[in-house]
């Protein structure tokens, strides 16, 4: 040990170890191994696996590998506890969540130290970030429990939630999942990651200490097989997963058609955009907080630096200087910036990706790291777009640097990714920063900041970064079922297979009319060159185009060209919808006659047209009113929750209600700025094809609504498979629902599937805010203030 005089020469920081005694005594107490936490108590340890401290490699605990029967027992306990938990007054649930928050605070240091030992992340982070945010989450959601009935009238909990969480923020991800679930009246079966199960088990003890009723929170430990058993369990109502996009895709397929609710918070390759007028030092420090936070094992880490060419040399110089100052080592040391990588498997993966990147021409600059499961902070330059370092989520302390010329260039680079979780924008120009924030494809945007989290703000991604939000009002909705007024109906019968042969008779018409596809604002002949018969009660009443996959391809292309619609003001969109109602109203009789020709009574046909008109007015009214929120998060930031359109929405309509069914889905989608590719009623598409002239005369820009008639499920499959469709709404058969959900896994598009006929589109269930929520995704933009 150096003397004081020697230290005066070196001015080193010296060791500053956090005392791990109490966490160690807890581990010693459990040296016989951990069981699962089911129905309020720990089971006896079963077949177990070892958990190690990545910083030392030492085994620290034995944890039980959850088998199917363990999962079963946990789900049973959760199921048994759920009705009583949900029936508690909000205030009673609030008191429980409040107690959890308080007890987490009381045990804050214990949890922080344990997390560091288990995960390898620096004590600074567990102490200053992870654990305080855990407490914050429970506090915030104690509040939601209290006011649930006021704020979400009629909504009901999903039931039993199966939650599978990752190893990068073990306790924080637990809080993000458990707090909203419990606040909403659900019960939980949660599996922590196999690398890092200990703080979840500690929290289970703390929950018992805080008096949480038994069965409300169940923790089952194990590996991916245990996770799959939870996700696949037939008595789970809702699955929430945070982890890799790869596993997210598997879960999407596994749960397809099960009727389970699903939210996925997946990977990212988030851009970190530095404009020429940025505070360069601030941006450099931002990189530290972005990618050299938690060893870069952060799904929303700014892992792609995009920097203006004009400042790139200075920025890079300062960044390298800063990187050289980072201290990597013992995560229990209070003066450490980066701790251990969670597991040697991850370390090997990071090293291998960097080697591959290097082999493809990347120039690598690294800081220093000690021997063991540590990886140095790493900067990769000369990374071409196809380099694996530019495309693959590395999940390590590795950041790429690319230059751009103009804001447009920066956005093109930023959005050239399958992901869309987060983005960081650095500029002192408020116009530029907000413009980029609006245009970047990401669920969370931080301006002149990065990696800010708060329970009151939603977190979650666009594109293959998943769907659903955690935190805030939008996060609560993921754990609730919206109120559904009216009685459920009966599933409708499958439509008859389209018959492309000439009909032997036809309707009397003054002049023959040909119904085509409607693509890009123009009528287009079906690519197939075929038509099919549309039947009335007494035989054919007309012919419709027999659509195929190429018509879908064309329609999706046309819909993308109509992207300007999403940028129009709500008022502009409202004007178009009112105008549409006006023109439809002028031809109400013609539409009623058309519906009547399909076999409806005159009266119901008129009622359907009238309901469609009202609906157009309702969504016109909402077009400039379904706006976002300003979340109350942390100072000094304004957190804007903006409702953004999803992009291109695929809509497969019920067979019945050929006009109202179509418009009940198309209107909310376009009111919110989406473009639609819709498959109208397969049996009776002619009410839809009559709409072309209404659209054309209502100033609806071409491509905003595209209609393809023909075999619904075949066309729906093409839409659900399409990588450039953002979301798919499907009303049809049960098999179709499964098919759409399975196919959607390709680009992880959001889906809304229902068996047609159950929802009564003629009543209040046929319109409402639920439709608008479905038509939007929330982007949270954090804007700092203060000069």
């Amino acid at each position: 040990m150096p003397t004081l005089t020697e230290i005066l020469e070196t001015m080193d920081y010296g060791p500053a170890p956090e005392d791990a005694k109490i966490a160690q005594s807890w581990l010693d107490k459990h040296s016989g191994g951990f069981g699962h936490f089911i129905n309020g108590q720990f089971t006896k340890p079963g077949q177990s696996f070892s958990v190690s401290n990545p910083a030392t490699g030492a085994e620290i605990a034995q944890v039980t590998q959850g088998a199917a029967e363990d999962v079963d027992a946990a789900v049973k306990a959760a199921r048994a506890a759920q009705p009583k938990w949900a029936a508690l007054p909000g205030h009673a649930r609030a008191k429980h969540l409040y107690a959890l928050a308080r007890h987490v605070q009381q045990h804050a240091r214990f949890l922080a130290v344990l997390e560091t030992i288990d995960n390898g992340k620096p004590i600074r982070e567990t102490r200053d970030i992870d654990v305080p945010l855990v407490a914050r989450h429970f506090y915030h959601h104690a509040g939601w429990a209290e006011i649930l009935a006021d704020e979400f009238p009629g909504a009901t909990p999903q039931g039993v939630c199966g939650q599978v969480i990752p190893w990068n923020f073990p306790l924080l991800m637990l809080a993000w999942k458990v707090a909203p679930a419990l606040a909403a009246g659900n019960t939980v079966v949660l599996k922590p990651a196999e690398y890092t199960p200990l703080t979840a088990l500690a929290l289970a003890e703390i929950a018992a200490e805080a008096g949480l009723p038994k069965g409300v929170l169940n923790i089952v430990t194990g590996d991916g097989a245990t996770g799959a058993a939870i996700v696949g369990h037939k008595d789970i109502d809702k699955v929430a997963f945070t982890g890799s996009t790869e596993v997210g895709r598997i879960i999407r397929r596994q749960t397809a058609g099960s009727g389970k609710g699903l939210t996925l918070e997946l990977g990212g390759k988030s851009p970190f955009i530095v404009f020429a007028d940025a505070d360069i030092d601030a941006a450099v420090e931002g990189v530290v907080d972005a990618i050299w936070f938690n060893q870069g094992q952060v799904c929303c880490a700014g892992s792609r630096i995009l920097v203006a060419e004009s400042i790139a040399p200075r920025f890079t110089h300062l960044l390298k200087q800063r990187m050289a100052k980072l201290r990597v080592g013992d995560p229990l040391d209070k003066s450490i910036d980066m701790g251990a990588i969670v597991h040697p498997v991850q370390l090997d993966r990071i090293a291998s990706l960097v080697d591959q990147g290097k082999a493809s021409g990347a120039a690598i600059t690294q800081g220093t790291a000690p021997q063991g499961c540590f990886y140095p902070p790493t900067l990769a330059e000369n990374v071409e777009p196809a380099n694996i370092l530019a495309t693959e989520e590395i999940f390590g302390p590795v950041v790429t640097l690319t230059t751009f010329r103009t804001p447009e260039d920066a956005l093109a680079l930023a959005n050239a990714t399958n992901y869309g979780l987060a983005a960081s924008v650095w500029s002192e120009n408020v116009n530029l920063a907000l413009d980029v924030a609006a245009k970047v494809k990401a669920g969370v945007v931080w301006i002149n900041a990065t990696n800010l989290f708060d329970a009151a703000a939603g977190f979650g991604g666009y594109r293959e970064s998943g769907f659903g939000r955690e935190g805030g009002r939008e996060g609560m909705m993921a754990y609730l079922r919206p109120a559904r007024p009216g009685k459920p109906g009966k599933p409708e019968a499958a439509p008859a297979t389209p018959d492309p042969l000439p009909a032997l008779s036809g309707p009397a018409q003054p002049i023959d009319r040909t119904a085509k596809m409607y693509i890009g604002g123009k009528q287009a002949r079906p690519d197939s060159g075929y038509v099919y018969q549309v039947m009335g009660p007494k035989g054919p009443v007309g012919m419709a185009g027999l659509g195929n996959r190429k018509d879908i391809r064309n329609a999706v292309e046309a819909a993308h060209k109509a992207a300007g619609w999403g940028k129009a003001t709500g008022h502009n969109r409202a004007q178009v919808l009112y105008y549409l109602a006006e023109n439809l109203s002028a031809r109400a009789e013609e539409f009623a006659d058309r519906l009547h020709s399909f076999g409806q009574s005159k009266k119901t046909a008129e009622a359907e047209v009238d309901a469609t008109l009202r609906r157009a007015f309702w969504y016109a009214a909402q077009a400039d009113k379904f706006d976002g929120a300003v979340h109350s998060t942390s100072n000094p930031y304004v957190t804007l929750a903006m409702n953004e359109p999803l992009g291109v929405v695929g809509v497969s309509c019920p067979d019945s209600l050929p006009l109202l069914g179509l418009m009940s889905l198309v209107l909310p989608a376009i009111a919110m700025g989406n473009a639609v590719v819709a498959l109208p009623s397969q049996s009776h598409p002619l009410a839809a094809t009559d709409l072309y002239q209404v659209f054309d005369t209502s100033d609806l820009p071409g491509g905003v609504v595209n209609l393809v008639t023909g075999p619904r499920d075949e066309l729906a499959k093409t839409l659900a498979d399409h990588d450039d469709v953002a979301t798919m709404w499907y009303f049809g058969s049960a098999e179709g629902c499964t098919m759409v959900e399975t196919a959607s896994a390709g680009n992880l598009k959001q889906t809304w599937t229902e068996v047609a006929g159950i929802r009564d589109f003629t009543g209040p269930a046929g319109q409402g805010r639920e439709f608008l929520h479905r038509a939007t995704q929330v982007k949270n933009i954090w804007v700092p203030y203060g000069e």
Partner: protein
């Protein structure tokens, strides 16, 4: 322990340069980000045990032990100088195994310089004098320059001048430059420490710009505050100034010192500002010729911490020699 380098011992003075507004105009300083970084300085770094003691001893080496009060007298200044010469009691020095330690300088009003010089004779401790109509600086320039010359004649080796805040607030950079350049000339061999009175400048952009002009005009040190503004030394302001002197060095090759002053009272503050210097600038800026802490009560708290380090007991202020 090696002798602590005093001003000018190890590096050439900053000769200044022509006014170049491009070096600071349009230079963005984002307050939110600066505050975030400042807050993290002491959560990312800490020093414990012997290291903590060493860092506190180093802080003493860098303190400009200051009295700037209307009731200063010769006796008061003598007492302060005695404390500067022997900041720690002999048994604490022995416990730390130190045989030589004094503060970086003593800082007084011009009329007190003579008293201080006499009291510090033979110690090598420089006397710093505030000047130029301290603290507001709103006196005719010729009187301010005369005050500098007076203090230098009295024996001050360092002159802590105040800038005209109006020049910054009105962005009259050439007026600011000319003023500081004239003061530098008046200082002669004495070192010029430019007090920016950052609490009056308000924005960090102003702080950055004023820092840069002061350095271009030839300041040897840039200093945050007089201690008389509503807000004195803060970490975000210090971070901004230190980054300015780093940018100035990168552009010109000239090293400029930094002196936070006012509002820093605790041993914890002493550590925090040293962490800032080490992280942003490196060890060189932990030496008293490049870094000073303008403080009066901080020393007492440091002393208490060091007593605890040596004896293992918590200290009482009344048991130590007062300044």
């Amino acid at each position: 322990m090696t002798d602590t380098p005093q001003h000018g011992a190890n590096h050439a003075r900053n000769p200044g340069m022509a006014l170049d507004t491009a070096m600071f105009e349009g230079h963005g300083v984002n307050r939110t980000a600066a505050e975030r970084r400042a807050a993290q300085l002491t959560t990312r770094r800490t020093v414990k045990k012997t290291w903590q003691a060493a860092w506190l001893v180093n802080a003493i080496r860098c303190i400009d032990l200051t009295t700037l009060a209307g009731d200063d007298t010769e006796g008061r200044v003598r007492r302060l100088c005695a404390k500067a010469r022997q900041p720690l009691a002999p048994h604490i020095m022995a416990g730390l195994e130190l045989d030589l330690l004094h503060t970086g300088a003593v800082c007084v009003y011009p009329t007190m310089v003579g008293h201080a010089v006499r009291a510090l004779k033979g110690t090598g401790i420089p006397v710093a004098s505030v000047a130029t109509g301290f603290p507001a600086g709103l006196m005719p320039l010729n009187l301010r320059l005369a005050e500098i010359r007076y203090a230098v004649e009295e024996g001050a080796e360092e002159i802590d001048i105040v800038i005209t805040r109006e020049h910054v607030l009105n962005r009259d950079w050439s007026a600011l430059y000319d003023e500081v350049a004239a003061m530098r000339e008046a200082c002669g061999d004495a070192h010029l420490k430019a007090i920016l009175a950052t609490g009056d400048l308000q924005t960090l952009r102003n702080v950055y710009a004023a820092s840069m002009v002061a350095m271009q005009a030839g300041s040897d040190f840039i200093k945050t505050s007089t201690g008389k503004e509503g807000v004195n030394a803060t970490l975000p302001v210090s971070l901004t100034m230190v980054r300015a002197l780093r940018d100035y060095r990168d552009a010109t090759g000239h090293d400029v010192g930094f002196k936070p002053a006012g509002g820093m009272k605790s041993a914890k503050d002493a550590i925090a500002w040293q962490i800032l210097m080490k992280e942003e600038m490196g060890n060189r800026w932990l030496q008293p010729d490049m870094f000073r802490l303008g403080a009066s009560s901080m020393l007492g708290d440091i002393e208490r911490q060091l007593v605890h380090h040596v004896t293992g007991r918590y200290a009482a202020a009344h048991r130590h020699a007062i300044a």
